[in-house]
Symmetry: none
Subunit: 195 residues, 4 copies
């Protein structure tokens, strides 16, 4: 018995649509409860499909989770890059990236939680997923030839971002966006950027 979809029957839905609904449901549920606390049945039910349908689209729960995480990561990196497309001034780069990070946290609260969040489970995937982001940041730092050890600074920066974004993604807030942004920028500016 279809729990949500009434009687209509799913065959009318296109494969792609079903898949997207599963991804959307899973994203929400993972963000809210963490991978371990969410069952494939729940994801299916929340997407309005039968339990077995889940496995028509994904090998297992892990695969779906992995996909969500890596797409989130890719999206984040892309936004960061686009945000600083033209600019070359280091200070400006920090400003623009920080603003973009905050926007990302506001727009994609679910993804932020999945990537960096309370349940921290993004890391439960084979290797630490964040490593990808870290390596990206590290390469960027090396290119800028900052005085700091890039390996250390990359870990530090990503750690900083992660906590601040998760924190910021949880509303309601008593601190103004402007204050958060300024603090975030200043933390990086005087720390990472050369004088």
């Amino acid at each position: 018995m279809g729990v949500i979809s009434g009687s209509g029957g799913a065959p009318a839905r296109s494969r792609a649509l079903t898949r997207e609904r599963l991804v959307a449901s899973a994203t929400t549920l993972f963000a809210r409860h963490g991978v371990h606390a969410v069952t494939s049945h729940e994801i299916a039910r929340s997407a309005g499909v039968a339990a077995g349908t889940f496995y028509l689209h994904f090998k297992d729960k892990q695969e779906l989770f992995r996909k969500i995480v890596f797409e989130a990561l890719a999206s984040l990196k892309e936004r960061l890059q686009k945000a600083t497309a033209g600019g070359a001034d280091p200070r400006e780069v920090v400003r623009l990236r920080s603003a973009e990070l905050l926007s990302f946290a506001e727009e994609r609260r679910d993804l932020v939680r999945i990537l960096f969040g309370r349940k921290g489970e993004a890391a439960s995937l084979g290797a630490d997923v964040l490593d990808e982001l870290i390596r990206w940041v590290e390469a960027d730092l090396r290119a800028r030839a900052v005085s700091l050890e890039p390996a250390v600074a990359a870990q530090a920066l990503v750690g900083m971002w992660a906590r601040v974004l998760v924190w910021w993604a949880e509303l309601p807030r008593e601190v103004s966006r402007r204050n958060v942004l300024e603090s975030l920028i200043q933390l990086q500016l005087s720390g990472v950027i050369e004088d």
Copy 2:
């Protein structure tokens, strides 16, 4: 048996010993595999006691985990405080704390992993455990009246520490301890400390 129980303290000592063995085994296992991947049976076996004994000492797995996490947190805070017992100079405080953090990561790799680590499961406890550490840092920052928003800076600092410590706890390393320490200090000094 029970013939020479002396002052009555022997049974208690034995009980305490069993408990400690359970805690030690659990700490190692949690650090290595994460809470979810470790069963109460495994902890008991690794401690050399029967499965049921586990529940004579802890209400459930969660309680044991919580205890380990909070003790680790307390220990970390205590070390940080002791390390800066006398000093007042902000720059010196940062120096001393950073050194202490690195030492902690070296001496208690298991605890670092449990608190901040890959599996990130410390956060799976009801509320975010790190919040306690964050609030402590936040209070400290407020007391120093830094120009940054303390709420934001506390998140950032703890996030930074977490990643760097976990990273540092995983050997082998190609970066010298000295370099790591200097980078860590510089990141905080120019970022957090007033000019």
Copy 3:
């Protein structure tokens, strides 16, 4: 499409073709892995048709399996009968039948495996399929009025054939065909023990 359907037989021919492909695929797969280990999807895929098409041709997997088994059985009986069409001499009948059995095993390895094979699943059909073959052999023995109890001898003969054929169907062999044939014949003619 459908432009030159000639005498109207084309669709029927196409349908029959699809069916045959399903039968052929299933035969191969059943022989290789056994009924339980083969899914209707696999049969369809291997036949180059969609999953649903399977059920347009067969009520269910069991029906298809049953059909394959009974056709195999009919084919085997027919070959045995044809091989001894004219002959009446009992010894000659045994010779000819044994040779035919070996040929069958060589030509239809798949069917031999399905009927008598490792997975022994021919028997998983409601009643024991081999019963049909056994009754046929039993009737034959009764007609020849051998001194043995026909019911027992029929079981024994079919059992003997089954094992030897399956064994022979699995190549490569170190025993020559000639030796196998002679042994098989002698076993039926005069038992295992030397006088």
Copy 4:
């Protein structure tokens, strides 16, 4: 809720007893329905224990099945050997073995069905289990230096035994035991065809 054992609680039963009950239940069920048609839940229920208890004693259903099959095989071989302990006369050996086989079929109907039976699933274990029995018979034949190809004769003999035993294990019968025994002996001694 214990389905069979009322309320008493299983802890009173010894581990070995529970295990035996599981083995006994499984043997009966496997003999009756075949491995695939029997679930681990059914075995547990029929043994009067909870579903999970099954896995306290056996890694999985396959392992239990394997154990039953190999014990049955060992038991059969042992009986055959004991039955012909002293004798050396080939004809006598055949007589004694045949009688023992029939007794085995009468006393252990379940094992006979599992080993050779309708569902023939003993063979679903990795390699063909009967191979063990066959190799044993083959070695025996080689030792006796019969004129037949031992490899072929061993297959034939075991095939013959298998069918006859399974058939004989299924009651009621219209053929007298005496007749069955005599036919079985004669078949091995002197083949099917009269001189």
